[in-house]
């Protein structure tokens, strides 16, 4: 490498020194190094996220063990149809995101923008359905702390077996965890969509179709991660013990 940086020069000159790769940040030696560093950083960040959700999953496991009947009945209150639709929506959004990454790789600007927009729309649909589910919980008085009533569990209107009062009260723990887990997941979706909006604008300007697509790739990782969290949440909250 003959064009070493003259460090005494202000930073913007350094960029010019690397005219062959304008997206190479001044402190990296090679594009390869920059790429590896960013994706390594992203994976580490996802590890952090795993620990973040890990705390919630631990709580879920413990309480599920203690208050099994309450958790069974609680999960019966969730709409398996909406949950399945949402799962499908999220998997589709992962697909559109992957296609976005692929388009960036192929340097197709318009396709990239299109796929990213599709991802945003699917993310929006997911959040819409989630909001509808939350609304339903509110109407049924299943929001612990704010408006909770054990009525549905002690005197069920449908074919559900009635829970004794003490166990019925434990459904609050189930719904607390339901809201904490899906709420944190939804928050990640909202953050993801906000970032996507920025990415779309930048992609429209051609920022990721000139060979430098680490940002898109890393965002793709994040999006898939959020997707995977849902893939765990869906069976744990909606599906397990459905037959009982």
């Amino acid at each position: 490498m003959d064009s070493h940086v003259i460090a005494t020069q202000p930073v913007h000159d350094a960029h010019e020194a690397h005219a062959h790769a304008p997206y190479l940040r001044h402190h990296f030696e090679t594009v390869e190094q920059q790429r590896e560093a960013s994706s390594f950083g992203m994976w580490l960040f996802l590890l952090t996220e795993i620990m973040f959700f890990g705390g919630l999953f631990t709580a879920y496991l413990i309480y599920r063990n203690w208050y099994y009947p309450a958790f069974v009945v609680g999960s019966h209150q969730l709409s398996i149809v909406l949950g399945t639709i949402n799962t499908a929506v999220l998997i589709c959004s992962s697909f559109t995101m992957a296609m976005g990454v692929y388009s960036a790789e192929m340097k197709r600007r318009k396709a990239l923008v299109g796929w990213l927009l599709a991802t945003i729309i699917l993310g929006g649909v997911f959040l819409g359905i989630k909001a509808d589910e939350y609304h339903e919980k509110w109407e049924k008085h299943h929001v612990p702390g704010l408006n909770f009533s054990v009525q549905d569990f002690t005197h069920p209107t449908d074919a559900e077996p009635a829970l004794p009062l003490d166990m019925a009260q434990k459904t609050q723990v189930y719904f607390s965890l339901y809201f904490a887990m899906t709420g944190m997941h939804a928050l990640h979706m909202v953050i993801g969509i906000s970032i996507l909006l920025v990415l779309v604008v930048k992609a429209w300007g051609g920022a990721y179709t000139a060979g430098h697509m680490t940002t898109i790739e890393n965002f793709g990782l994040y999006w898939h991660f959020v997707d995977i969290v849902w893939i765990f949440l869906f069976p744990l909250l909606y599906l397990i013990s459905r037959h009982q």
């Binding site: 208050y67 009947p69 829970l163 004794p164 009062l165 003490d166 166990m167 009260q169």
Partner: protein, 352 residues
């Protein structure tokens, strides 16, 4: 001397009269704790001396003026292994010793007398089986094993008696226990050591250790008239417990006579020991302690009985040797329920 400064003088007097390195050793366990402490202080002193000696010695011997040219040394596996293994060995001794002590402190002997403690912001309530109630004080006889069954009404507290070297967290929603055998007559500090809010530092009290005779006198002099079990009996009747737990063959609930201390099979197939915690939990969360062979019809009494009430009930069930009196109360309470005398029976209920 005191013309120099009265404050300083007072300080010195204070120092000389109050200076102590150890709290009094007033329980059977205290000397054991102290000997482990001495051992630990000793290895700390030795470790400290070795480190300081090495540092001072090398600093003097190899200071630049004396040793201008350093000799580079890579390391020494042998030496490093030495100072890995020796501390490790010492720490293992500490671990085993500490573990033995821990089990000694937290495993009560079977003949211990039981006193109940309820912690709340910011006071300690002690409930003796004989019905004596105390606040921020605990009277106990000397040379007798005492077990405390403790629970908190609100937040975490911690029951600490430095002179006995015992301490245990007092937790909302579950019983914790601690035991000790006082060996010295006297009055000792009782502290709440877990931060519990505004008046945490005033959640203190006295442990009064008395001779058996004095204790006897104190017990007789401060009884409230009814023992915990008697209070429990009233509560048992007024809550209607006796209608199901009557001990009759056709009753809806299991017989409680002589149930305490035994093992029962639960509906989910596992076995549980009937202890204080089990009884308390069964009253509050009956579904989670469903006994095999009975249907889950017992309602929860959560929010209806105070912690003191629960203690009364537990103490009652503990001492229930036959169902004779249960059936008696069953008949009387049916009779009484039509008479105005009924509220008197419910006296012990809902103290909150």
């Amino acid at each position: 001397m005191h013309f120099i400064s009265p404050v300083l003088w007072q300080f010195l007097v204070n120092w000389l009269t109050h200076f102590a390195l150890f709290p009094p050793e007033a329980s059977e366990i205290a000397p054991y704790t102290d000997s482990l402490y001495f051992f630990l202080v000793l290895i700390s002193l030795v470790g400290m001396t070795v480190v300081v000696l090495l540092v001072v010695l090398f600093s003097v011997m190899y200071r630049k003026e004396r040793n201008p040219e350093p000799t580079q040394i890579e390391g020494s596996t042998l030496l490093e292994a030495t100072w890995t293994i020796i501390p490790l060995a010492l720490f293992m001794v500490t671990f085993v010793w500490g573990a033995l002590l821990y089990f000694r402190i937290y495993n009560p002997p079977t003949n211990a007398m039981n006193i109940y403690i309820v912690g709340k912001q910011w006071m300690w309530k002690a409930e003796h089986p004989g019905g004596q109630h105390e606040i921020n004080a605990l009277h106990i006889p000397v040379n007798r094993a005492v077990q405390l069954t403790m629970i908190s009404q609100d937040v975490f507290h911690s029951f600490s008696i430095p002179a006995f070297r015992v301490k245990r967290e007092v937790i909302p929603g579950r019983y914790s226990t601690v035991w000790f055998k006082a060996t010295q007559i006297g009055t000792y500090h009782l502290f709440c050591t877990q931060y519990c809010g505004t008046l945490h530092s005033q959640m203190i009290g006295q442990i009064v250790v008395m001779t058996p005779d004095d204790y006897e006198k104190w017990t007789n002099g401060s009884t409230s008239g009814a023992s915990l079990a008697q209070n429990g009996e009233r509560l048992f009747a007024s809550l209607g417990c006796s209608s199901c737990h009557s001990g009759n063959a056709d009753s809806h609930g299991p017989s409680l006579a002589q149930a305490y201390g035994g093992k029962v099979q639960l509906a989910n197939g596992s076995f549980a020991t009937v202890d204080d915690a089990f009884l308390r939990d069964s009253i509050l969360n009956p579904t989670m302690h469903q006994i095999a062979g009975y249907s889950p019809i017992m309602p929860t009494y959560q929010g209806q009985v105070s912690e003191e009430g629960l203690i009364d009930l537990v103490e009652y069930i503990k001492n229930l040797n036959s169902n004779y009196r249960v059936q008696q109360t069953l008949t009387t309470s049916t009779v009484q329920s039509t008479t105005p005398a009924a509220p008197a029976a419910g006296q012990g209920m809902v103290k909150q």
